[in-house]
């Protein structure tokens, strides 16, 4: 990591969430490049415990291959109860610890935003990403009445889950929220390419930065009739990502709870 010579001006103790409630944060320090903080300590504890459970379980199951190794979700007979360690209990432990790690990681981002006196857009976006995990692994299994609805923790194992879930509701491509989410993913990729090309294509070619900005604006007006502007493009990208995540959430939340058959879903239309 490149040394940032301005960093010492910003590395100041205090102003954390934990300190504002209890007066003092015992973890208000940095380790190497990382800020720790109370929520960092919680997060790293959850991560360490989760990885430990993961390794113990994978060792018990016996397949160490990085692609195939799997922590399976509980059997259907378990319902919403506790499962034995090798029959879904490891999965339950990892899901709880991972959720704890994600949430405290987000709160640690809030702490860092407070220290740097910047907006809270990144933790807000991160919490939306956590919502996808929570819906897939906790909320939808609760609504469906079985932890077995969560996906296996595995590289190709979770792909098998995705494939099976698609066919279980007949054809996931007929799920309108799935279509809107896929559209959002492709739009984010396209707008990302346009923004990256605009910056990489124009930076540092003129002495005057205002000239560069005018060159960007006049190109986009020539090319598509509109230039959204150097601030507006980040608004657009941010809200495209929000839109995509919300649609992904709705896509899986409605499947099996409200709709059993996405092909039949279109019949009234």
């Amino acid at each position: 990591m490149a040394d940032l010579d301005f960093e010492s001006a910003y590395r100041k103790p205090g102003n954390t969430l934990f300190a504002s409630v209890l007066g003092d944060d015992p973890f208000d320090f940095w380790v190497g490049p990382f800020y720790v903080g109370f929520f960092g300590a919680v997060s790293i504890t959850c991560i360490a415990l989760g990885i430990a459970v993961l390794f113990i379980a994978v060792g018990q199951y016996g397949d160490w291959d990085l692609w195939r190794a799997v922590i399976p979700s509980p059997d259907r007979s378990v319902g919403l109860g506790f499962a034995g360690f090798l029959h879904g209990g490891a999965w339950q432990a990892v899901v709880i610890l991972a959720t704890g790690a994600f949430v405290s990681w987000g709160l640690r981002e809030v702490d860092i935003c407070r220290k740097l006196q910047m907006g809270f857009h990144v933790p807000a976006m991160f919490s939306l990403a956590i919502s996808a995990w929570v819906i897939l692994q906790i909320l939808r299994p609760l609504l469906m009445g079985c932890w077995c609805e969560g996906f296996d923790l595995s590289f190709t194992g979770h792909l098998t889950w995705v494939s099976n879930t698609g066919f279980r509701y007949m054809n996931f491509y007929d799920n309108p929220f799935h279509a809107y989410a896929v559209m959002g993913f492709f739009l984010t990729a396209m707008v990302l390419a346009m923004h990256g090309s605009a910056i990489l294509g124009t930076y540092n070619t003129d002495k005057d930065p205002n000239v560069e900005m005018r060159r960007e604006d006049s190109f986009w007006r020539d090319y598509v009739g509109y230039s959204i502007g150097e601030y507006g493009i980040h608004r657009l990208g941010f809200y495209l990502a929000v839109y995509t995540l919300v649609m992904s959430d709705l896509c899986i939340l409605t499947s099996g709870t409200l709709v059993q058959d996405w092909v039949d879903f279109w019949h009234p239309f």
Partner: protein, 335 residues
């Protein structure tokens, strides 16, 4: 935090003509530049227009409209020449490709598909020429052109290269909203589940990564824009407090950070990686294996869930499934 409105109350920015522009006989800028003030509630630039016409753009637009016209004719053909039914079933009309690699024998038996595909292929290629011409005029480095060509590479793999490799245009998607979705589903099933195709896995990694990067980059810039981190060209030359905070946020969060220039390298390569990995995944389907699940089991990436069916594995070319009767989808009367 300060509120940032782009270009508040600034005069219209008229495009400046260069001698480059006068070479083109159709080189005119359409319309009058105006401001739509309501766009300010979205906090985006309010100036609309003008748009450059240009010979290449005119050719591209004409080919697109020609393809759209053939699509509408084919759609009317499928719904009994009723404009109202075409509107009603617009999502379901689809122009299916013909079997084999020759010219279709009839319009209904793949002729519509071949005409529309040809027109629209020409349209995106001439749009690429227009992109290149405008990039040169505005003295941009041609990153946008390479991104556009990468996208064309993926569509060419799907609509042209893969059908030629396996010997039938019928492998390509039917044209139409639902036809697209059905192709995506059928293609995966036909080739033994595309989720186990490693290039498909890499493409989805880039695709979801693109969404994640927009979340990260967009949020970072919005959170520090009150200290002008959104003037990215200027920040590349001189890191001011907004970009310093943006860099420190990620260094403190994950031990690593990008800078105003390098973040856009990440953005560009992730978005281009989507289409490059997808294209390679399509090309390798049929060349590397006929069944990605069997390939995954053979290469140890997938748990074997049951006995393997290897009947079609070593046949070349791959036997094609029987095709539906030409004519495409015809909705039942009164449905």
């Amino acid at each position: 935090m300060a509120t940032i409105l782009p270009h508040p109350m600034e005069p219209i920015e008229e495009a400046e003509d260069s001698k480059f522009d006068h070479i083109d006989p159709l080189g005119i800028r359409l319309g009058t530049a105006t401001r739509l003030d309501f766009l300010r509630i979205f906090m985006v630039d309010t100036q609309i227009g003008t748009i450059w016409l240009g010979t290449w753009g005119v050719i591209s637009a004409m080919l697109f409209v020609a393809g759209l016209g053939v699509f509408i004719l084919g759609g009317l053909d499928q719904v009994g020449d009723s404009p109202w039914l075409l509107v009603k079933y617009f999502g379901n009309v689809s122009m299916a490709p013909p079997d084999g690699l020759g010219l279709a024998h009839s319009m209904r038996g793949g002729g519509y598909w071949q005409m529309i595909t040809t027109f629209w292929a020409g349209s995106v290629l001439f749009w690429g020429v227009r992109c290149w011409e405008r990039l040169m005029r505005h003295k941009w480095r041609p990153f946008l052109l390479f991104a556009w060509l990468s996208a064309i590479f993926l569509t060419a793999c799907i609509w042209v290269f893969h059908p030629i490799i396996v010997g039938s245009w019928a492998e390509a998607p039917a044209l139409g909203l639902n036809g697209d979705l059905q192709w995506a589903q059928n293609f995966s099933v036909l080739w033994g589940n595309l989720y186990y195709n490693p290039w498909h896995q890499l493409a989805i990694f880039f695709l979801l990564g693109s969404c994640m990067l927009w979340g990260m980059h967009g949020a970072t810039i919005l959170a520090t824009a009150s200290e002008s981190s959104h003037h990215e060209d200027a920040e590349i030359k001189n890191l001011t407090s907004g970009s310093q905070k943006a860099a420190l946020f990620w260094k403190w969060t994950m031990g690593f950070n990008a800078f105003p220039k390098s973040i856009h390298d990440w953005l560009w390569w992730f978005s281009v990686g989507v289409v490059l990995a997808s294209g390679i995944g399509i090309l390798s389907t049929g060349l590397v294996t006929n069944d990605w699940y069997v390939w995954g089991v053979d290469h140890g990436t997938v748990k074997q869930y049951g006995p393997l069916t290897r009947s079609a594995i070593n046949q070349w070319p791959r036997p094609m499934p029987p095709l539906p009767a030409p004519g495409g989808y015809v909705p039942a009367p009164g449905n």
